[in-house]
């Protein structure tokens, strides 16, 4: 096809190891009494005849990068004017050139010595296919890391049930904000349950806001709770107050609360192992909601509750 890209093999006699194997050319036509194709070398602008040519008929190099060669090829009539911007086309061309790296490098050395033309960083867009003979094997090294995590973690020694539980620890599709959570019914129901639980235990009273008081805010935290075997138990929404706005001496006094020291935990586990004790784990539902509050704390209404009044906790 006239004007298509082709590569004419250079003669073996004259080339050394580092010379290009082919000349990037454009097909012009046939010449009578010759057995070859008439080609136009894109770089040296020679017209020559060659018999060893590989054609890429779907590529018309001329209109694709007018920016770089327009000045030299003004007289050449442009067969197509593409609506693409030149820069995007420049990006489209390289995949073909990449097939022949030595050629490309020589092209850069010979024809673009001027620093005016920016050479875009080339990234191969070629799709990377695994060799067919490897399809029966697990090959982490081809696409990802040289050191995949599977080399360092293995669940072979765990029982089926326990490894199921362990793996379930990793999947947590938990929303991060109110708007995100409000899209799902399960989270909406969870929040409704939490709000009604708070109302039924008498956690707060709705009051008019006193003038001098600046209420603290609140937000919601969403968590998925799991059974011991790894299946999802329920969706849990939790309303939390933004306690960082509280003022010491006004709405809170002492905050210290002892926690188990890690050494104690380890010592208890070691003793349990030696003495063959039973070890059980309990989880208190809504633990913090059981504490009795003596101070007055004012809080704004949570999102999703429509009464426009602040909430007061204790009196």
């Amino acid at each position: 096809m006239f004007g298509c890209l082709c590569y004419a093999s250079s003669l073996q006699v004259h080339r050394t190891k580092l010379h290009p194997r082919a000349r990037k050319s454009i097909f012009l036509g046939y010449k009578s009494s010759y057995k070859g194709f008439t080609l136009l070398d894109m770089h040296s602008r020679d017209i020559f005849i060659s018999r060893h040519v590989i054609f890429h008929e779907h590529i018309l190099p001329y209109p694709s990068n007018p920016d770089s060669i327009t000045s030299q090829w003004e007289y050449f009539p442009s067969p197509h004017t593409t609506p693409h911007s030149p820069s995007s086309d420049v990006v489209h061309v390289p995949p073909l050139i990449i097939d022949d790296p030595p050629f490309e490098s020589s092209h850069n050395n010979n024809n673009t010595p001027s620093p005016i033309l920016p050479v875009p960083t080339r990234h191969s867009t070629r799709t990377c296919n695994t060799p067919a003979y490897l399809k029966d094997y697990v090959c982490n090294n081809i696409h990802a890391s040289l050191y995949p995590i599977t080399d360092y973690v293995c669940h072979n020694k765990l029982s089926d049930q326990h490894s199921c539980f362990v793996l379930s620890l990793h999947s947590n599709p938990e929303p991060k904000s109110f708007t995100e959570a409000n899209k799902f019914d399960c989270w909406k129901q969870a929040m409704q349950a939490e709000l009604s639980a708070l109302e039924s235990t008498g956690t707060w009273q709705l009051v008019d806001m006193p003038e001098h008081v600046k209420p603290i805010g609140c937000k919601r935290i969403d968590r998925v709770k799991y059974h011991a075997d790894g299946s999802i138990e329920r969706y849990k929404a939790r309303l939390v107050a933004k306690g960082y706005n509280q003022i010491e001496g006004l709405d809170f006094f002492d905050t210290f609360s002892p926690m188990a020291k890690m050494t104690t935990v380890r010592l208890v586990l070691a003793l349990a192992s030696i003495n063959h004790w039973n070890l059980h784990q309990l989880d208190v539902n809504n633990a913090f909601l059981h504490g009795d509050l003596q101070e007055d704390v004012y809080m704004t209404l949570p999102l999703g509750v429509s009464l426009p009044k602040p909430i007061r906790f204790a009196s």
Binding site: H280, N286, L293
Partner: protein, 391 residues
């Protein structure tokens, strides 16, 4: 009116409520750890360990378990999670050889959050040729991420004594981290990548003998010339406590640094003894402290070296007092057995591996070597290492 999550006083109010209920039902709050509640009757022994709203229940009587569970359920609505498996990010596994404890998920999350999940593993967490100090290179820009990383490493210390020393080093530079410090932190992540499932193992066949190891690195901190003390404690073969800490004052001699380290080790030992007493555990033998510095041992044994020790604080002589009271025994330790070295200095791969193997850590997630071809052999090795992890 009730408390709500997020309020500053919420955890305190909750703990007060829980304590009052447990005390009503004849549980005794241990003075050595206020979150530990113990009930001992003629037939049963039960203990309750409270970590905010997570509770560990341990003991020999299942009927007492049911009893306390029903009491708690009537007061609060509790959820019985059955056998202890996952507690504050610690994964617990039970086998007939013992109980194992590790933070594999926490470690993997840390690796993937810091973008090191594909890094190349390395055999030691710290480089012995690099000494960290203030202003060692260009400042590191992303200070919050450095602090976050060190904070997460600190929690990983719950089951990883192997990174305790380097975590202590990294946390000295939280205010002004440099590129060098960041590089060192990344090296820890590369080390963790190699063994994310490593953790503690508490063998069932262990004795109840308490042993402590103490060591100091004199002037280990370049900026302040203070020494670093390290200590670790074993109950039988189970590693239960360890620590790396920069000392509060400058030491003039290595024996003084060792002596100060020994003093803080003795304090920890005393606390562990109180804890064991509260747990009604009787040690069969006198607890032993191992120290690798002869002159520190001499200072403890007799008031010698007046010239070198006249400026020592009175509270440093706690070791001598405890020794004379007959609650501990001091022994020298050979250079091969200096387990506390792990907590005071960066080590080369070979001694690091040797000392680490004596701590009795296991990695149950370690893939079988040679693609499982040597599976049976590995299994045997593992069993052996479990049995004689510490001679």
């Amino acid at each position: 009116m009730k408390s709500l999550y997020g309020l500053k006083q919420a955890s305190r109010k909750w703990f007060v409520k829980l304590t009052s209920i447990l005390l009503q039902h004849h549980y005794i709050q241990a003075p050595s750890d206020h979150s530990l509640f113990i009930k001992k009757t003629a037939s049963s022994f039960t203990l309750l360990l409270v970590y905010v709203d997570d509770i560990i229940l341990a003991g020999d009587s299942l009927t007492e378990f049911d009893h306390i569970k029903s009491i708690l359920h009537n007061s609060f609505k509790i959820k019985n999670l059955g056998q202890l498996k996952y507690f504050m990010g610690l994964e617990v596994a039970h086998s007939k050889h013992g109980i194992s404890l590790w933070q594999r998920k926490y470690c993997l999350d840390l690796l993937s959050d810091s973008g090191s999940i594909n890094s190349k593993p390395i055999s030691t967490p710290s480089d012995p040729s690099i000494k960290l100090y203030n202003g060692s290179s260009l400042p590191y820009d992303d200070i919050p991420s450095y602090r976050r990383l060190v904070g997460r490493l600190l929690y990983l210390n719950t089951t990883r004594p192997d990174i305790t020393f380097i975590t202590q080093q990294l946390s000295q530079f939280l205010s002004k981290p440099t590129q060098t410090h960041h590089q060192a932190a990344l090296r820890v992540l590369r080390y963790l990548k190699g063994c994310p499932g490593k953790g503690l193992h508490f063998p069932r066949s262990s004795s109840l003998h308490l042993q402590g190891f103490s060591d100091a690195d004199r002037a280990g901190c370049i900026d302040t010339r203070r020494s670093i003390s390290g200590q670790c404690f074993f109950l039988g073969n189970s590693l239960i406590s360890w620590r790396t800490k920069k000392q509060m004052t400058v030491s003039r001699s290595s024996s003084e640094a060792e002596y100060r380290a020994l003093a803080s080790t003795a304090c920890e030992l005393q606390w562990l003894l109180y804890l064991l007493r509260d747990l009604h555990v009787k040690c069969p033998k006198l607890p032993v402290l191992f120290c690798d510095n002869q002159s520190a041992l001499h200072i403890v044994a007799n008031p010698v070296f007046h010239e070198r020790t006249k400026h020592l604080d009175i509270d440093c002589h706690i070791v001598r007092e405890k020794l004379h009271a007959g609650i501990l025994k001091l022994l020298p330790v050979s250079s091969q057995e200096r387990l506390a070295d792990l907590f005071t200095k960066p080590l080369l791969p070979q001694p690091f591996g040797l000392l680490l193997s004596k701590l009795g850590l296991i990695d149950i997630y370690q893939p079988p070597s040679c693609g499982g071809l040597l599976h049976n052999k590995c299994e045997e090795d593992n069993l052996e290492s479990k049995q004689d992890s510490l001679a």
